[in-house]
C-alpha cells in the first residue's frame, strides 16, 4: 500500500469528508470533517484496506485559529503491510464534541478519557467519560494552551534572559 493508493481510496469513498491532505515526513495525514470521522475510521477498519489497529488518540489546541481551535488526532495502522495513517479533525472550542470510537476499538476508551481529561473534548457515545490522570475536582483541562506551566503571577523569578 502506498500513500497515493490509500488517499485515492479514501477520497473516492468519502469525497465530501476529506478537507485536506498532506504527507509530512512521508506519513499520510488527512483532515476529516468532524461529523464523518467515525464513518471514515469504520471504513478503514472494515474495508479491504485493513487499517484496523488503533495506535493512538490524542488532542491538540491551536488558540490562534478559533474555527479550528481544538483538534483530535488519530493514528491508525495496518500491521500486515505496516501502513500508517494519521487522521485529524478540528472543531471550535464551544462545540468540542466528536463521536466516540469505543464501539470500534476497545482501546479507544482510555485514550478518549485521557483526551477529555487534558483538552475537555467530549466524545459522544463514550460509556464512561471521566477524567483519568488528573484528579476529578481539578475543574479545568490542563493541556489547553491558556494554562501556563508555571504560575504566571510569580515575581520572584525573572527568567527572560534564559531562553524560555
Amino acid at each position: 500500500m502506498t500513500n497515493e493508493f490509500v488517499l485515492e481510496a479514501i477520497t473516492r469513498e468519502f469525497p465530501e469528508s476529506v478537507l485536506s491532505h498532506d504527507t509530512p515526513y512521508d506519513f499520510l495525514t488527512l483532515e476529516i470533517k468532524k461529523e464523518d470521522i467515525k464513518k471514515v475510521i469504520h471504513h478503514l477498519k472494515d474495508s479491504s484496506l485493513q487499517i484496523n489497529f488503533l495506535t493512538d488518540i490524542c488532542g491538540i489546541h491551536y488558540p490562534e485559529t478559533p474555527e479550528k481551535e481544538i483538534g483530535v488526532i488519530y493514528h491508525l495502522h495496518n500491521m500486515m503491510t505496516n501502513f500508517r495513517i494519521r487522521l485529524k479533525t478540528f472543531m471550535t472550542r464551544e462545540n468540542a464534541e466528536v463521536d466516540s470510537m469505543t464501539d470500534l476499538y476497545a482501546g479507544a476508551n482510555w485514550m478518549e478519557r485521557e483526551t477529555f481529561d487534558f483538552y475537555g473534548i467530549k466524545f459522544k457515545g463514550h460509556p464512561d467519560l471521566r477524567v483519568i490522570l488528573n484528579m476529578e475536582d481539578l475543574g479545568y483541562h490542563p493541556m489547553l494552551k491558556e494554562y501556563r506551566l508555571e504560575d504566571g503571577t510569580r515575581t520572584d523569578k525573572d527568567d527572560k534572559m534564559f531562553g524560555r
Binding site: P24, F53, T55, Y105, A106, G107, M135, P142, F162, R164
Partner: protein, 407 residues
C-alpha cells in the same frame, strides 16, 4: 473459559440479593506489594473469585506532556527516562530518533550499533525484572534475587556509558555523548560470557516447574482479537500469537542488519507472556553479540552542531563552536516546523512519540503513546472470574510500569 467460571458463580446464587449479601470489596492497591507500582484496583469478590474489577490510575501523573511544551528538545530526555524506568535507554533513544526524524539528519552506522547494544541491554534488564517478579509472585523468590545481580551488571554498563544507573539520560540527539570506554568493553564481554549461564539457570528453574506452570497457565488469558482491539503491542501481543515487532516491521537503528526471530505464544496467558519474554532475552543476546562483533568504526555522533555540544577545546578556539555552545546551553536552538510520529519497540511494546513542532525551541505538542496505558485497561477483562492469586501474576506478567502508565 473465564466466562464459564463467572457464569458458574452467578448460577450458584438464586437471586441478586443473595449475591449482594455475599460479595465484598477489596482494595488492591494503590500501594500494595503485589501491584508493583501505584495503581488501585477495586475488586468485587465472591470468596476468592473476582467478579468485577475497576482500576484507578493517575497516582503518579507528572504532566510530562505539559512540561515538554516548556522544555527544549535536549532537556526532554530527562522526562522520557522516567517513564518506563526499567528500560530507560529505550525511551531516551526513542525520543532522540523522533527528533532526528524531524531534523532529517543522517546518523553514523556506529551510533546505530551502539544504540542497538544499549537498547537490547535495556530490554534484557526490563525482562529480567518482569520475569523475575512473575516467578516471585508465583511464590519463588529465588529467581528474582538471582537475576537482580545480573541487572546490577547491566546498570554498571549504563554507568560507564552515561554516568547514571537508573534515570540514565542515555545518549544525545544525534548519537552519544562519548564513545564506549575500555571498561565498558570489558564489562560487556564479561556479561556476554557469564549471563547466558545465569539465564539458563533461571529458565530451568521455572519453565518446566510444575507449580509455576499450574500457577500461570490459563491465568489472565486474552485472545489475539481482543488484544488487537485494545491496542496491545510488544510481548503481551506476541503472547497471543501475533508476530508484530516494531524492530522487524519498521526497522530503525539498522535492526535490519541483525539476524533474530520474534518469539510468539499461542494462548495469550501469563505463561505465554512469561515464555515470550524468556525467549526474547535469548534473541536480545544474539543481537548484542552481532552488533558488538560488527561494531563499525567511525564517529559516535552525527554532524549536528546545533544539538551536539562541541569539544571544550573547540569552544575556546573556534568561533563557530563557541556560538553553538552558547545556543545549546541557552536553549536557543530551533527545529524545523513539522509533525512526526516515531516509534520504537520498548521493553513492553510500541512506544510512540507524536511530536508537533511550530519551528520554535520547544515542542508545540508532544504526546507519548505509552504501551502500559494501553494494557492496563484490559486488566479487568483478563481477570474477571479468576482467583485473586491469578490476578496478581496476571498484573505482573503484563509488565505495567506505573511511571509509563501515568507519565
Amino acid at each position: 473459559m473465564k466466562d464459564n467460571a463467572l457464569s458458574n458463580i452467578l448460577n450458584q446464587h438464586d437471586s441478586k440479593e443473595q449475591i449482594d449479601g455475599q460479595l465484598y470489596t477489596l482494595n488492591l492497591g494503590p500501594t500494595h506489594p503485589a501491584t508493583h507500582g501505584i495503581f488501585q484496583n477495586v475488586l468485587t469478590m465472591d470468596g476468592e473469585r473476582i467478579l468485577h474489577a475497576e482500576q484507578t490510575v493517575g497516582y503518579i501523573h507528572r504532566a510530562f506532556e505539559k512540561i515538554s511544551e516548556r522544555r527544549n528538545f535536549t532537556q526532554i530526555t530527562t522526562l522520557t527516562d522516567r517513564m518506563n524506568y526499567c528500560s530507560a535507554p529505550i525511551n531516551n533513544i526513542g525520543w532522540h530518533l523522533t527528533v532526528e526524524k524531524l531534523l532529517g539528519c543522517e546518523i553514523p552506522k556506529r551510533v546505530d550499533y551502539m544504540r542497538v547494544i544499549m537498547m537490547e541491554l535495556a530490554r534484557i534488564s526490563d525482562h529480567l525484572i518482569c520475569n523475575g517478579v512473575i516467578a516471585m509472585d508465583a511464590g519463588a523468590i529465588t529467581g528474582l534475587t538471582y537475576l537482580f545481580q545480573e541487572r546490577e551488571k547491566i546498570y554498571e554498563m549504563y554507568e560507564e556509558v552515561c554516568g547514571a544507573r537508573l534515570t540514565t539520560n542515555m545518549g544525545r540527539i544525534g548519537g552519544f555523548e562519548r564513545d564506549f570506554s575500555p571498561k565498558f568493553h570489558e564489562l560487556l564481554k564479561t556479561f556476554l560470557k557469564k549471563f547466558p549461564v545465569v539465564w539458563q539457570d533461571f529458565c530451568s528453574l521455572n519453565e518446566r516447574n510444575r507449580i509455576f506452570m499450574d500457577r500461570t497457565i490459563n491465568a489472565g488469558p486474552i485472545s489475539a482479537e481482543r488484544a488487537l482491539s485494545y491496542g496491545f503491542t510488544g510481548p503481551n501481543l506476541r503472547a497471543t500469537g501475533v508476530d508484530y515487532d516494531v524492530r522487524v516491521a519498521q526497522p530503525y537503528c539498522s535492526y535490519e542488519d541483525f539476524d533474530f526471530i520474534i518469539p510468539v505464544g499461542t494462548s495469550g496467558d501469563t505463561y505465554d507472556r512469561f515464555m515470550v519474554r524468556q525467549q526474547e532475552v535469548w534473541e536480545s543476546l544474539k543481537i548484542i553479540e552481532q552488533a558488538y562483533t560488527n561494531l563499525p568504526e567511525g564517529p559516535f555522533h552525527a554532524d549536528l552542531p546545533e544539538f551536539y555540544l562541541p569539544e571544550k577545546a573547540d569552544v575556546y578556539n573556534n568561533m563557530e563552536a563557541l556560538i553553538y555552545h552558547f545556543k545549546i546551553v541557552m536553549a536557543e536552538t530551533e527545529v524545523p516546523k513539522g509533525e512526526v510520529y516515531s516509534c520504537v519497540e520498548g521493553g513492553n511494546g510500541e512506544l510512540g512519540f507524536y511530536l508537533v513542532s511550530d519551528g520554535g525551541r520547544t515542542p508545540y505538542r508532544l504526546h507519548f503513546r505509552r504501551p502500559c496505558f494501553i494494557y492496563y485497561q484490559a486488566y479487568p477483562e483478563m481477570i474477571q472470574g479468576s482467583l485473586i492469586s491469578d490476578a496478581i501474576v496476571t498484573l505482573c506478567s503484563m509488565n505495567v510500569i506505573a511511571g509509563e502508565l501515568d507519565a
